[in-house]
């Protein structure tokens, strides 16, 4: 028997007995970031493909939510900061080694760009919209001319943002469960899947609905593949990675993860979507709610499990 105990009564709040410094704020922030990234990617991508009129919800309407998503996300992040009065220090320098730093900068840049992106479509979706000031009109006009470049920048930044939500975690090699580079792509895919599901739900045309349902099915397939890979990678890793994986393969996280993330969050909605494509009647709200909930659950569980996984010594 090996008995390893701390005998000095160490009980640092939120650190002991198991690390739990990150509560709901960070996973919620990661979810919103991923969702915003997904929406912008679809909007920008289909703009570049010239399908903005065919897919109005995806291209023109959904980006309206992005500043709110990012805003709420930033508020959650700020709520998590324990020394919040010094939050401005985030923007006194850029630290490339710190995902927290470049993530913050990405958000800082992407927010005005997303507003600019919305501005481009305002007159399309609200025909009576009037910018009132000539200066604004000039700017919007200029933006419309730069639409393709803006779309390209947005795609790039959104991929960074979507990946960042995972890389923020995978950069911590102190937490073996997070310490896999697949978290970035996984969270990006997951964010894309959530936005595809939302677009499908809100879309008015059969074309748009079926397209995004199909996209979502593919994305969920990729997600499932990456989840399998996540565990394969861990199981092929060092002792600490194996133990981290085992938290999900018999350990404390097994039931919540496989039930809420994989079962209810991926497998069930993907089945419903497949049935939908076969013209079976499925209440449209069901798959999208399941996917969003699964998305949230994925981040909550990953953030929690990562903190519970550790090196042994």
């Amino acid at each position: 028997m090996i008995e390893e105990i701390i005998t000095s009564g160490r009980m640092n709040p939120e650190i002991d007995p198991v690390l739990h410094v990150w509560g709901w704020e960070i996973p919620f922030y990661l979810f919103l970031g991923g969702l915003a990234a997904g929406i912008l990617i679809f909007s920008a991508y289909f703009t570049l493909r010239g399908r903005q009129d065919e897919l109005p919800i995806a291209v023109k309407w959904m980006p309206l939510s992005v500043p709110f998503l990012i805003g709420i996300g930033l508020i959650s992040l700020l709520l998590d900061l324990s020394h919040i009065l010094y939050a401005w220090q985030l923007f006194t320098n850029i630290r490339w080694e710190s995902p927290m730093s470049w993530g913050a900068w990405t958000l800082l840049i992407i927010t005005p760009l997303s507003i600019a992106w919305i501005a481009i479509w305002m007159e399309d979706i609200f025909p009576k919209w009037d910018w009132k000031f000539d200066e604004v009109k000039t700017v919007v006009k200029w933006l419309k001319e730069q639409r393709r470049i803006l779309a390209q920048i947005l795609i790039l930044l959104s991929i960074i943002l979507g990946m960042y939500t995972g890389i923020l975690l995978s950069a911590f090699n102190a937490r073996p469960f997070w310490n896999t580079s697949i978290l970035g792509p996984l969270f990006l895919t997951s964010g894309l899947s959530a936005s595809a599901a939302l677009i499908a739900y809100f879309s008015k045309t059969e074309l748009e609905k079926r397209l995004f349902t199909r996209i979502d099915i593919i994305l969920i397939g990729i997600e499932l593949f990456m989840i399998v890979h996540l565990f394969m990678g861990h199981l092929a890793g060092t002792q600490v990675h194996i133990q981290a994986a085992q938290m999900f393969l018999g350990g404390a996280y097994t039931v919540p993860f496989w039930t809420f993330v994989v079962g209810l969050g991926l497998l069930l909605p993907v089945s419903l979507e497949l049935l939908e494509l076969k013209h079976k009647f499925i209440p449209a709200i069901v798959p999208v709610v399941l996917i969003i909930a699964g998305n949230l659950a994925l981040r909550f569980i990953v953030v929690s499990a990562g903190q519970a996984s550790r090196w042994l010594y």
């Binding site: 028997m1 008995e3 020394h83 950069a171 090699n173 102190a174």
Partner: protein, 177 residues
């Protein structure tokens, strides 16, 4: 200059004096600690082994906390001592999650706090409080770059280990075996 610490597990009795001394020296609030004692028992009665370690921030040469800090609040100070600048810390806790030793904590005032190797004492030529108080003289503090320092000599002549070197952190608290 490379400051480091060696804890002689042969001498350490796990009395906790280092923990109290740190607490009073640095006004660490009750309920928090910058250093702590780990006891590892191995074997089956009556064939047993016991290793006792006084642990703290390892002042890693490749410190993940410094790497993941978004504001440079966590930084290397003179001699490689890893410190947190209170006024630059935003409390994002990235450093806390990045530390494989769980050596950091959130000070009730909001910033992240941890062992400083008592740099305020070291600069005056004194040992850190934990070292200076240890009843069994189980701890050695000094400069690894000085081959004549007590710590360099102990490291040269004794078997030793550090904690989770495989995490790539290059810790600078060593355990003499």
């Amino acid at each position: 200059m490379r400051y480091a610490m060696a804890v002689d597990t042969q001498k350490c009795v796990g009395c906790n004096d280092c923990v109290v001394a740190c607490q009073t020296e640095n006004d660490v609030p009750i309920g928090h600690c910058r250093d702590w004692i780990v006891e590892v028992t191995t074997g089956t009665y009556p064939d047993l082994g016991l290793e006792i370690r006084s642990e703290r921030c390892n002042h890693c040469a490749n410190a993940p906390c410094v790497r993941t800090c978004p504001t440079e609040a966590s930084h290397y100070a003179a001699g490689g001592i890893v410190l947190v600048e209170e006024d630059e810390c935003i409390g994002c806790k990235a450093c806390i999650t990045s530390c494989p030793y769980d050596a950091r904590f959130i000070h009730p005032e909001g910033y992240v706090d941890k062992c400083t190797f008592c740099i305020h004492r070291v600069e005056k030529g004194q040992n850190p409080a934990c070292v200076s108080v240890c009843p069994t003289h189980a701890m050695i503090f000094g400069n690894l770059d000085d081959p004549n320092s007590d710590i360099s000599k102990a490291m040269a002549t004794r078997k030793w280990k550090s904690l989770i070197p495989e995490a790539g952190t290059e810790p600078k608290v060593f355990y003499l075996l």
